[in-house]
């Protein structure tokens, strides 16, 4: 090994300038590679942001890719409150509010259930608990289509067809598989001795959860909240199957808007509408993305 080091030192020294040139070439290569991909990645975002402010005639004349020559805000207000979606002319506002009404409770409930389940399945194991965990985990992989008919049947029987409450129920049941998986895999790494010590000190089931587990949980709770929020907000399948018209969440309404108007090119209103639908999950990502990646690699994916 010493020999090898010596040899490489001798080789490098006379060729120092060459090595420096190669270094700069390498840097240039890395940045060009990243820049080319960055342009492709940013292009769609740029296009909808720019087009939501461009007047429609300008878009039609100059194409979708271009900077705004003049700013127009009318597309935003039309998309928000007066454009006709699914028979009513109130813009995407009702659908946006539906999505909030759906996503916020469903995220909170499924996260709490997941934390509770994860806590029990990692710290209060009983006979068969590993088998139960494996079964819950299967729910993560189940294709949504498998459950459509049974859900339609159940929602019909309990009178929740075409309601946001029905969607909340479905997302809670299906989402609990994910949140349980995330939380359980994270809590497994909390030392059992900590729990044992607390029990010797007289702490019970709930107190250990509130005083020990929850204070250690923020990293994984951020992951589950981001995962659930973006997943539920962006869901299309359940929204389009179980709700219609004004009761649809925004993701389902947007596809209706896009595929329903094949002839009329309403790029400006569509851009604003699409952006309105994308803003909440984007905000969540821009503020929480760092913790998301960190937490994901800590606990969720093993």
């Amino acid at each position: 090994m010493v020999e090898a080091t010596l040899r490489s030192a001798i080789e490098v020294d006379p060729a120092a300038s060459l090595a420096a040139r190669r270094h700069w070439l390498g840097r240039f290569g890395v940045y060009s590679f990243l820049s080319i991909f960055a342009i492709i990645y940013i292009l769609p975002l740029f296009v909808i942001v720019a087009n939501s402010f461009r007047p429609l005639p300008e878009i039609v004349q100059n194409g979708l890719i271009g900077f705004p020559h003049s700013l127009s805000f009318s597309a935003w207000s039309r998309a928000w409150s007066s454009y006709c979606v699914g028979g009513t002319c109130q813009g995407v506002k009702p659908n946006f509010l539906n999505s909030l009404e759906l996503t916020v409770p469903a995220t909170i409930i499924s996260t709490l259930l997941g934390a509770m389940n994860g806590y029990i399945l990692s710290k209060w194991r009983f006979r068969g608990s590993d088998f139960l965990f494996a079964s819950i985990m299967l729910g993560v992989f189940l294709p949504g289509q498998i459950a459509l008919m049974p859900w339609a049947f159940i929602l019909g029987h309990i009178g929740l067809s075409n309601t946001i409450a029905g969607l909340i129920l479905i997302h809670c049941v299906q989402g609990t598989s994910f949140t349980t998986l995330f939380c359980r895999n994270y809590y497994v790494n909390i030392p059992d001795d900590l729990i044992k010590a607390a029990r010797i000190d007289g702490a019970g089931f709930w107190r250990i959860f509130w005083k020990i587990i929850l204070p250690l949980s923020p990293p994984i709770l951020i992951v589950t909240v981001i995962w659930q929020f973006t997943g539920i907000w962006n869901d299309y399948l359940l929204g389009v199957v179980f709700t219609s018209g004004r009761n649809q969440p925004i993701t389902a309404a947007l596809i209706g808007l896009a595929t329903g108007n094949t002839n009329a090119k309403i790029y400006d209103v569509m851009s604003a509408g699409v952006l309105i639908g994308a803003i909440p999950p984007l905000l969540i990502y821009f503020f929480g993305g760092k913790y998301f990646v960190r937490g994901l690699t800590q606990g969720a994916i093993k």
Binding site: A4, G26, Y31, L34, F37, Y41, I42, L45, V47, I48, N62, G63, L64, I65, M116, N117, I120, L132, S135, G139, F141, L142, P143, G144, Q145, I146, A147, M149, P150, V173, S177, R199, I200, G202, A203, G204, F205, W206, R207, T230, N234, Y236, L237, T251, A252, L254, I255, A258, T259, K265, Y267, V274, A278, P281, I284, Y285, F286, G289, V293, T297
Partner: protein, 313 residues
């Protein structure tokens, strides 16, 4: 032994110590039970119910007259379904392989101590936050010849430039694949980057001292140590691929013709547009079968790896 103390709110009724102890021991199971039952009904009950429907003669409404595998035969003799399944294989293969290559390339580039690392990461990761509905709608415009990329390049002066993936039934599937990769290669990047960062720096140093160049160090030392991440990324992306639905609806709506049909789209159509729920259920079961093909070997691999690890201490 110590006696666990339960907050007063939990037990209000006066109960003997044995009662309390018993309740205490059962408490985790009692708390777990409701969501556990819901999950089990969802996972097993729903799958079995759908399987049963697929064997019945249901059409618009569920019925329970048993007809055997009739609907599976009907499904597999249908051109649209065969195209959907072929598309699924083509899509899965290219989407996973190219997605991993792009993600790995980006992760390695970012790992070269670049400036403004957080900015690059955010740029490549943000598509993951956006729904397929949004992704599909925007890319549909960019692919469209009369306003998108082709129009733009032509307006720059290259007047016979053509870029019209989505209007040709032979190439439309590649537009779906490219858009899928755009959406989720950032996810692969994030996982690979975390993996690269977890490689023991001494290992890398040792390789460099031994005279290995940067390329060789990656190929021989770093990438083999993060092999499990490759498998995890591949499995996660494969199960995304099998569930592909809204991307296609928003981007091509299955067209031109039926060239970009996917199983999920066809199942949806059978169940909710055509009122053939038995055949739709059969399609859903076939999707489950495709998932099993991916997940059963993966879980066996996980078990095997655990044994290896515990075997070597």
């Amino acid at each position: 032994m110590t006696q666990a103390i339960v907050p007063a709110a939990v037990i209000e009724a006066p109960a003997g110590p044995t009662w309390r102890e018993r309740l205490n021991r059962a408490l985790p199971i009692i708390v777990l039970a409701p969501s556990l039952i819901a999950s089990l009904v969802y996972v097993f009950g729903f799958a079995i119910w759908t399987f049963y429907i697929s064997l019945s003669n249901s059409s618009l409404l569920p019925s329970y007259d048993f007809v055997g595998f009739h609907h599976y035969a009907a499904l597999w003799s249908n051109t649209r379904w065969k195209i959907a399944y072929t598309n699924l294989f083509l899509f899965s293969g290219l989407y996973v392989v190219l997605g991993i290559l792009v993600g790995l390339g980006l992760a390695i580039a970012i790992d070269q101590r670049v400036r403004a690392e957080a900015l690059w990461r955010t740029i490549f990761l943000y598509p993951l936050a956006v729904s397929f509905a949004v992704t599909g709608s925007v890319w549909k415009w960019l692919y469209s010849p009369d306003a998108g990329i082709e129009f733009f390049v032509r307006s720059l002066g290259w007047t016979d430039f053509t870029f019209r993936l989505t209007t040709d039934r032979n190439t439309a599937i590649y537009a779906v694949i490219a858009t899928g990769i755009w959406q989720s290669s950032g996810f692969a990047m994030a996982l690979f980057l975390a993996g690269l960062r977890s490689v023991d720096p001494d290992l890398v140093k040792a390789a460099q001292i031994d005279g290995a160049g940067r390329f060789r160090t990656y190929r021989k030392v770093i990438l083999p140590t993060i092999a499990p991440i490759f498998i995890a990324v591949a499995v996660i992306m494969l199960q995304f691929a099998i569930k592909t639905f809204d991307l296609v609806v928003a981007l091509t709506d299955g067209g031109p013709g039926i060239s970009t049909q996917f199983p999920a789209n066809y199942v949806y159509d059978l169940m909710f547009q055509r009122g053939q729920i038995a055949e739709g259920a059969a399609g859903a079961i076939m999707m489950l079968a495709a998932l099993a093909v991916v997940l059963v070997p993966y879980s066996l691999y996980l078990v095997w790896r655990k044994r290896q690890e515990s075997g070597h201490g």
